[in-house]
């Protein structure tokens, strides 16, 4: 009996997928705060510097936010703290290198890499996560497995590809001028892809049958089961989507940033988690907006402090948000019965 109660409590305590539209007040509040801050920065540092920092914040945020969308799905739907997610991004980028080396043209190599990473994510479900779930593994065992999987993925990539710096060879220096402001062309692409991915995932979750089932599963797994939802199917779909999105963001990251090695996933990982939690676990809009909020706050902070404090600013923001807005920007507190 205690078993069930505990799982039920787990689910009750986790904030889950929710509709962005229905949760307007908190995002609106956040938007207001951001606008006030931006105005203050414009007054203090002049419009060009403040707005350029804002543009940079959007770019930095899009890298984190896009990566966090896949993570938030697994965290929200499967309640799994997937510490290997960053390494799935790496796998996606290196699959691209592999397929390009095998002779595929780059765009096709990228697509194949996304499919391959999705297949890999599904394979981890079959080989690792499903058996652990059936054995009723606790949260620490799952966490440990995720760390182990991350090590295996990252160092398998490194074993075959080496740890030297790689590039996908895209032109990363061209930029678009908007008045006195500059935005890198590929950075703009990253931002567009990030927002598109967010909207697509959001719409799928909101309106499609599988999306509704995923939300139901995330909300209350036992109830989803007895409502006739094929839960294993939902789990598989979630992994496929997560792997695909991870590869998409890994490839975009590798392309837009232009230079990477197998460590980039693990260095990005804590930011991904921060964006996920900030946005409200399980919400794709939240993941991207969470990423943007971190990006903005970090880039804005460079107007005030030396840039080397950037990461610390991100973590401080995370702690403050957890204390004062624990459900995240788009998260919804679940009432306990």
């Amino acid at each position: 009996m205690t078993d069930t109660t505990q799982t039920e409590r787990t689910e009750a305590r986790a904030s889950v997928l929710s509709s962005a539209l229905a949760a307007l007040p908190r995002p609106a509040l956040l938007l207001a705060v951001l606008i006030v801050l931006l105005c203050a920065l414009v007054i203090a540092f002049g419009p060009v510097r403040a707005l350029q920092a804002t543009v940079n914040g959007f770019v930095a945020g899009s890298y984190t936010g896009l990566g966090a969308i896949g993570l938030t799905l697994v965290l929200g739907v499967l309640k799994l703290v997937n510490f290997a997610h960053g390494d799935l991004l790496v796998t996606g980028a290196y699959f691209t290198i592999l397929f390009a080396w095998l002779g595929l043209p780059l765009p096709l190599a990228m697509l194949t890499a996304m499919l391959a990473t999705a297949a890999l994510a599904l394979a981890t479900e079959k080989i690792i996560w499903q058996p652990l779930r059936l054995a009723k593994a606790g949260s620490l065992q799952l966490f440990l497995s995720a760390i182990g999987l991350g090590l295996v993925l990252r160092f398998t990539v490194q074993f075959f590809a080496g740890s030297q710096v790689r590039t996908l060879g895209a032109n990363v220096v061209t930029s678009i001028a908007i008045g006195p402001l500059r935005l890198g062309t590929l950075q703009a692409l990253a931002l567009v892809v990030g927002i598109s991915a967010m909207v697509i995932v959001g719409l799928v979750l909101r309106f499609t049958s599988i999306g509704k089932e995923m939300r139901a599963f995330a909300d209350n797994r036992a109830l989803a089961e007895v409502s006739g939802i094929d839960t294993q199917h939902i789990i598989n779909v979630t992994w496929i989507a997560s792997g695909f999105l991870a590869a998409l963001s890994g490839i975009l990251y590798a392309t837009a940033i232009g230079s990477f090695n197998p460590n980039f996933g693990i260095t990005l990982l804590l930011s991904l988690f921060a964006a996920t939690v900030l946005g409200g676990i399980g919400n794709p809009y939240g993941a991207l907006v969470g990423g943007l909020v971190i990006g903005l706050s970090q880039e804005w902070s460079t107007l005030l402090f030396n840039a080397r404090w950037k990461p610390a600013v991100g973590f401080a923001l995370l702690i403050l948000m957890l204390m004062f807005m624990p459900q995240g920007i788009f998260g919804r507190a679940k009432r306990r019965s």
Binding site: R49, A60, Q164, S175, G184, S259, Q298, A307, K310, P311
Partner: protein
Amino acid sequence: MSCKIGRLAAWAAVSALAIVASAQGAGAEPLDLKIGALLESTGPLSELGPPAEKAINLSATVANKAAKDAGVEAKVTIVSADSQGDPQAALSATRTLVDKGASCIMGPSTTPESISVLNGITMQRKITLWPLASSTRLRTVKDDGTIYRPVPADDLQSKALVKAIENHVGKGKAVAIIFRNEPYGDALSKSFTTDWQAEGGTISSTISFDPQQESFDSEAGQAVDTNPDAYVVIDYPETYAKLGAALVRTGKFDAKKVFVADALSFAKVPDNIPPEALEGAYGVAGGSPTGTDAFKAFNKLWDEAGGVANASYTANSFDAAILCFLSAVEAGSTEPGAIRDKIRSVTKDGAPQFTIETLADAVKTAATGKEIDYVGVSGAFRFKDNGDPSSSLYDVFQYQGGKQVKIEQVNVK
């Protein structure tokens, strides 16, 4: 508890037996030299691992060929271990190298690793350590003459940078410093600031960035916004690929105003760095290497060997291993202390000079016990008492068409 200690002891005993079984008569002919390579194969600096590994392996190939050509019975084997870029892991890694019989240890790349390895192991065993770290802090520790740095320390290099900027931009100008927030960038930026201001120059901005961030556009913007006469960039290629792209994207950046420190000195600009970020940029490299035949020969060797592209400090790693080898030949021993005591005899000012191309002759001469002067790929080595290179000659180079071209030499004190 006792059972755990017992287990440990059992392990230890097994390992000890293995070592005894494989041990060979020390100092006996022919020379069987093991050179340890402490590589950052994993961890935050893992991009440094593969090029360093290749450089040291190349040195063994070159040394073995030279020994054969010289008819000297000496063999070099490289043993390597992963320092993970972490002082604690570097300790374990070094112990495995020592267990494998390493007489010298090449690397590691950072000051914390170097000091912890020195204090923990190498100093007591008189094993020479050849760190690629340039912090002056390394000088402050007691090393019993075991540290030899194949790279110039910050204080010399910062003076070379000052001279190069004065020659190409002018005295008393405004300079923006951009550095990677690590011991290397931090220390060199501080010495440069002091030296530049002492010469009447101004620093328009000092920007340090966290290497683990994904974009550096704000940092780049801050650097160009002050509209400096020159930029000093202290960075590794991995992050400069991102930072340089961001600098170019500002639209207000002129790579010809850039002066890079030695970690961004390559024969050929690596693929991952956008050409616009370095084309026309100046840089300094210690010991007068660029443009020498040895430098060209090394780069040819590198390209022929295939594998990873050339990167920073590979020539320094290569030279360090060759120096260890020549010292062992000179000492006629692989005993670490004996090698340590001969290093100055193979880098003797005024003795007959040899380079990578005449290495066989160098081996032949050294085997007779005569002093020699090995002029490395990265330049001549003049070690001071503290093991730092004292060479006052620096090449000022410029990247032209993606290649390093020597412009002039400067002399610093």
